[in-house]
């Protein structure tokens, strides 16, 4: 794949947002991979596939508004050696096409990359029917399906490149909208099945964040540092398989507080995963703060309004962590 992570490029990608960046990444892949097939359930436009359709029309298939059939179709293409990326909005993949994913990707282990567009609260006024509130939780239940969530637009390129070589059943969860904040301004190594440190001032608090929350947690960590609280922030770009080994090593430093952060229900996703890992690594005695959306259907509104309302912005995260520490 031919792309460059530079200051100029990341600013451009941030402006256009995750879905248009994803479309660009798929175009780059299509330029070099003759076996690439991009499939969508009538959301080609919403996947940023315009440039792909212009340049490589034969590499895109619209299955129509038929998410369940899309999974079967994707599996069929994969069996003939195609490198498949199939897209829809997060709930229509995780819920509506769930059983087809279970049979084709998990049970039959057929390698297909499915992409959950605009997960979390990105779809604003389209409301709960379209919000991705539970997708990490659902995909965690499928044996053998990898779960990725890019922290910014440049990481989308890295994950597309990674998955194109990996050739395993994978779910890629896109969060955020246009002007998606920048975490990485230059190239870096991304390792499958590991998480990445994006901030380090000390070991009092270990923050495990994913997707859109990585940026907000890093900003919160800077504020915490100013308040004399020293943290590490980890970008969990690969949620499943989770790097239990590094997690155990981190815990052996006895942080006062472990924090999980996700634009997702607070139950069932990354937070629950971290809690399970604390127990299985014999660190259940450590304190955990799970940051995420409350387990209920939410209000609709502009993305920034919702992040603030549900305390997922940097300042709210800073306050939540500070308050939790003072209570302990």
């Amino acid at each position: 794949m031919n792309y460059e992570i530079s200051k100029r490029q990341v600013r451009l990608w941030s402006r256009i947002g995750p879905r248009t960046s994803f479309g660009q990444a798929i175009l780059e892949l299509a330029n070099s991979d003759e076996n690439l097939i991009a499939i969508s359930a009538d959301l080609g436009r919403s996947s940023g596939f315009g440039p792909l359709v212009s340049k490589h029309p034969k590499k895109f298939i619209n299955v129509g508004i038929s998410e369940q059939n899309m999974i079967g179709v994707s599996a069929g293409f994969s069996k003939l050696g195609f490198n498949v990326y199939a897209t829809s909005f997060a709930p229509f993949l995780s819920y509506r096409a769930s059983e087809m994913i279970r049979m084709n990707l998990s049970y039959m282990k057929i390698p297909v990359n499915i992409v959950g567009l605009a997960s979390g609260l990105a779809l604003e006024f389209l409301g709960n029917s379209h919000f991705g509130l539970e997708d990490i939780s659902i995909f965690r239940t499928f044996p053998g399906i990898n779960i990725f969530s890019p922290a910014d637009c440049s990481e989308i390129f890295k994950i597309i490149e990674l998955t194109s070589k990996l050739k395993q059943p994978s779910y890629i969860r896109l969060t955020g909208g246009v002007n998606f904040p920048i975490v990485y301004e230059e190239d870096y190594d991304i390792e499958f099945g590991k998480f990445n440190s994006v901030f380090s001032s000390g070991d009092e608090v270990h923050i495990y964040a994913t997707g859109s929350m990585v940026y907000h947690c890093r900003e919160a960590a800077k504020l915490l540092e100013d308040s004399g609280i020293f943290c590490k922030v980890f970008n969990v770009h690969t949620i499943q398989p989770f790097d239990s080994h590094s997690f155990r090593e981190n815990c052996s430093k006895s942080p006062k507080l472990i924090v999980s952060a996700e634009e997702h229900f607070v139950s069932g996703g990354l937070g629950s995963l971290v809690l399970e890992e604390m127990h299985s690594s014999q660190h259940a005695n450590l304190s955990l703060l799970k940051i995420g959306l409350p387990n209920k259907y939410l209000e609709s509104g502009e993305y920034e309004f919702l992040l603030n309302k549900y305390e997922l912005d940097s300042i709210s995260i800073f306050n939540s962590i500070k308050n939790k520490l003072h209570k302990e």
Partner: protein, 278 residues
């Protein structure tokens, strides 16, 4: 208000309240189903303004939920809620969002947005009404893009099998869905008259083969809509009924007609000034 006037007013209000919200709406699809909705609500639908008052009444389900702005405009003009409530459309924290949220006291029967699920519930309501032995009717608007979803055929089969003669579907055949023609596996009405015939024939044949009664009409002809709805009410009707309405996405707003940019879009101030609403 006469139905002809309701159609004009509701259409103006779609544009007015849509624009004033400052947000994105699915204008095209709201406008293509509007004539049917107005004839239905003005002349046929028998329900109290507060739907929670009783379950023994008529039902309307907007299965193509993203066209909620069209439904809101009709509900407003028929007195289900007031102007202040309509003005909360697309405001932060509002209940009036891009897809209907079930709110019986405001005339909204169900929460929709996930395509194909409305028609499924409609068949359940219709069957339950028959089992109760009451005479009420169930109406449902289905999109043609929506008919890509498999559950639609599950519902159509069920309705036919259980002879749900009290169920009337309006299939809004505007020939377009989200992705534009060049991404699409099926052409839009911008094509030849043969293509128009093909799509209409396809759905006529599907519904007929599954065991429904068909009326294939001009979805913007008030008289034809009225005639079809009257036929649905005839005593000898013994099958679920579909009005396949050939419609224009964005109908009645010249700058929007058949332009798929108006599937989901925002009206700018300058566009609002240019717009002519018929």
């Amino acid at each position: 208000m006469k139905t002809t006037d309701l159609i004009k007013k509701a259409r103006k209000d779609i544009i007015k309240y849509g624009f004033e919200s400052g947000g994105f709406s699915h204008y095209g699809g709201a406008l293509s189903m509007l004539d049917f909705l107005c004839v239905l609500y003005n002349e046929f639908l028998k329900q109290p303004k507060d739907l929670s008052a009783t379950s023994e009444r008529d039902y309307f389900i907007l299965s193509k939920g993203h066209c909620a702005l069209g439904l809101y405009s009709v509900l407003f003009n028929k007195g289900y809620f007031d102007e202040d409530y309509f003005k909360s459309y697309l405001k932060n924290g509002t209940d009036l969002i891009a897809h209907p949220i079930k709110n019986l006291s405001k005339g909204i029967e169900s929460s929709n947005g996930s395509l194909g699920q409305g028609i499924s519930m409609a068949t359940g309501i219709a069957h339950a009404i028959l089992k109760k032995g009451i005479k009420n009717k169930v109406y449902c608007v289905l999109g043609d893009g929506e008919c890509n979803e498999g559950i639609v055929y599950e519902a159509l089969n069920y309705a036919s099998h259980y002879k749900l003669k009290n169920l009337c579907v309006f299939l809004d055949l505007n020939g377009l869905q989200n992705d534009p023609e060049e991404y699409d596996f099926r052409r839009s009405y911008k094509g030849s008259s043969k293509e128009i015939l093909d799509i209409g024939l396809k759905y006529t044949n599907i519904f007929k083969s599954i065991g429904w009664k068909i009326n294939y009409i001009n979805g913007h002809d008030e008289d034809e809509l009225r005639k079809s709805l009257s036929e649905f009410h005839q005593k000898d009707n013994d099958k679920p009924f579909v009005i396949i309405g050939k419609t224009i996405k964005g109908n009645g707003v010249l700058l929007m007609e058949n332009d798929n940019e108006w599937h989901h879009n925002k009206i700018s101030k300058s566009f609002y000034e240019q717009i002519k609403v018929l």
